[in-house]
Amino acid sequence: MKQFLFFVQKEFYHLLRDRRTLFILFGMPLMQILIFGFALTNEVKNTRIAILDNSRDEATAGIIHQLEASRYFDIVKNIRGYGELEPAFREGKVKLAVVFPPRFQYTLLHENSASVQLIADATDPNVANTLANYATAIIMDYQKSMKGQQDFPYTINTEMRMLYNPQLKGSYNFVPGVMAMVLMLVCAMMTSISIVREKEMGTMEIILVSPIMPIRVVIAKMVPYFLLSGVNIASILLLSVFVLDVPIQGNLVLLVSECLLFTVTVLALGLLISSVTDSQQVAMLISLMGLFLPTIMLSGFMFPVENMPIPLQIVSNIVPAKWFYYIVKNIMIKGLGFGYVWKETLVLTGMTVFFMLVSIKKFKIRLE
């Protein structure tokens, strides 16, 4: 035991003396949370729109007023004719244009129906869709407010409620995702690199020619990264609660223990990578291509798994991050208890045991 503790201490020396890596390890989760939280958001806010009002009456003024009042839109341009529309879109000055036909109010009042044209820049289809929906909703609101004066015989109103995330915030989605990514990077990549470094530097050669089981030195390597991950998990959770206003709905102890379980899973993965590679570059490439990309692409963090083609859905099952993402989302955002995530936890545990066994079995006691 004393021996093991000494090895752990030695790993801490390695880690603490490499200031740059240390800075990246601690700084990365903070940076990622903040970047995802404030910069890379697909929420619609203050989008620049243009108005082409061919009618200029009370009704159009009312709608324009409401559009302007909403925090989604900023009216930057009043266009006088169709000819100006195209250039405004081309220059990227506006993302959406609202076009009122001539005699809008007149048509509306006399024919009981009038059209508004919404023209959206669909280079980003998701954004275009969202913008059009928001604008439609605002126009509907205006229509509702007119109801007092008008009598429609039958109307069906839809009432929407967004569960778990009423404000439709992106952060609810990416906090679990970033957590998976950071743990993947810190644990799998850094441990595999630090183990392979021993091979590259030749120190593994000496460790092998000693009475100790080399796997013990390797296991000792994981301890600092495990602790470091604990710090990272804590800082991500604190940031998401206090800076991004993402509350932790479920049991905190359960959440943290699931995070630690995932940490062990990726540590085992790191060990596996290091036992099949001999150079730091290869270890890094495998971690990036083999772990990092699937974590982003197939875990459901960027693209919903349900929408993927069947083969990819099947492949996504072997990505540990998918299960972790599901667990964290359910506990943290939905506030569910262990009863709802025990199956996924079991899968993750099974994967961990599998990776551990394979890597210990594969661990070479000689140089070849």
Binding site: Q3, K10, H14, M201, E205, V209, S210
Partner: protein, 307 residues
């Protein structure tokens, strides 16, 4: 078993793409307990591979080997407990201090610096003033001494040193060999490899290796005594021209450059210096200097390579 190391017909090859590279062929030798045994040969002769097989880091394709009475494949754990190994490349933690490196290796072998202090005292004392310095910041000679201390920390019975003096300055090399002789006095069997022929004479016995084979095993004295032909050293104003002329003529059997002199074997041995000078006189060399000399290990190595 009285020998510290016994190697019997070891064969090892590596696959490089489709071709097979032979690293060791028909290697057999024995090292006695307490002996300082040298493996002498140029780079690529197979010294490191042989060391790795003996330190259980690699498996031979054919043949068998024992270290300290234990078989290298089946009893590798026993061997790992009792041998010391210093790889050719500096293989300590560059970002740890001298002291931390030593205590790491002490812990690795379940011992402490104090336990075997008498063994490494003379070595460690030389690096002790720098014990707070990181290993990466040490000079070449200091690094080797630290690596030697680490390899000795558990009082091994057999010590394997792979090219310990490569890249080390002349003074440090001399010191290093003195240290090895001191260690021998503690009863440790030492097997050392080196590409430097002049270090062969510092060993008890040497094996001359060349292209994956051992050419000869003998004491340094025995090897030089086996050089039966009379050897002459020749020197003139234009050394390069002299060598070309000597080699092209039919008077001389072999001629190799050795620093400031050429070592020459004549086809028909001249009995005196005068006769030798006359033999070369046909080659119009200026300031000719000729001398009869005893053979060195390197002369023998060159001779063996010709066979």
């Amino acid at each position: 078993m009285n020998s510290a190391v016994k190697v019997n017909n070891v064969y090892k090859s590596f696959k490089k793409g489709k071709t097979e590279v032979k690293a060791l062929q028909e290697i057999s030798f024995e090292v006695n307990k307490g002996e300082l045994f040298g493996l002498i040969g140029p780079d690529g002769a197979g010294k490191t591979t042989l060391f790795r097989i003996l330190t259980t880091l690699m498996l031979a394709n054919k043949g068998e080997a024992w270290v300290d009475g234990f078989e290298v494949v089946s009893q590798y754990k026993e061997i790992r407990k009792r041998v010391g190994y210093m790889p050719g490349r500096f293989s300590l933690y560059q970002d740890l201090t001298v002291e931390e490196n030593l205590s790491f290796f002490a812990t690795l072998f379940n011992t402490s610096l104090q336990e075997n202090y008498d063994l490494i005292k003379s070595i460690y004392q030389q690096i002790e003033p720098f014990k707070k310095r990181r290993a990466g910041a040490l000079s070449g000679g200091m690094k080797q001494k630290l690596a030697l201390s680490c390899a000795l920390i558990h009082r091994p019975t057999v010590l394997f040193l792979d090219e310990p003096t490569t890249g080390v300055d002349a003074v440090s090399r001399k010191e290093f060999w003195e240290l090895l002789h001191q260690l021998q006095a503690h009863g440790i069997t030492i097997i050392v490899s080196t590409p430097y022929m002049d270090e062969a004479s510092l060993c008890d016995r040497v094996a001359l290796m060349q292209e994956s084979r051992i050419m000869e095993i003998n004491s340094p004295k025995g090897i030089t005594e086996n050089f039966k032909k009379p050897l002459w050293s020749v020197r003139s104003a234009d050394m390069y021209k002299l060598m070309l002329d000597l080699r092209s003529g039919d008077v001389v059997d072999t001629c190799y450059p050795f620093g400031q002199y050429h070592h020459v074997v004549f086809k028909k041995d001249p009995h005196t210096v005068e006769e030798a000078k006359q033999a070369i006189a046909t080659i119009s060399a200026k300031d000719l200097e000729v001398q009869r000399i005893p053979a060195t290990i390197e002369d023998c190595f060159m001779e063996l390579m010709r066979k």
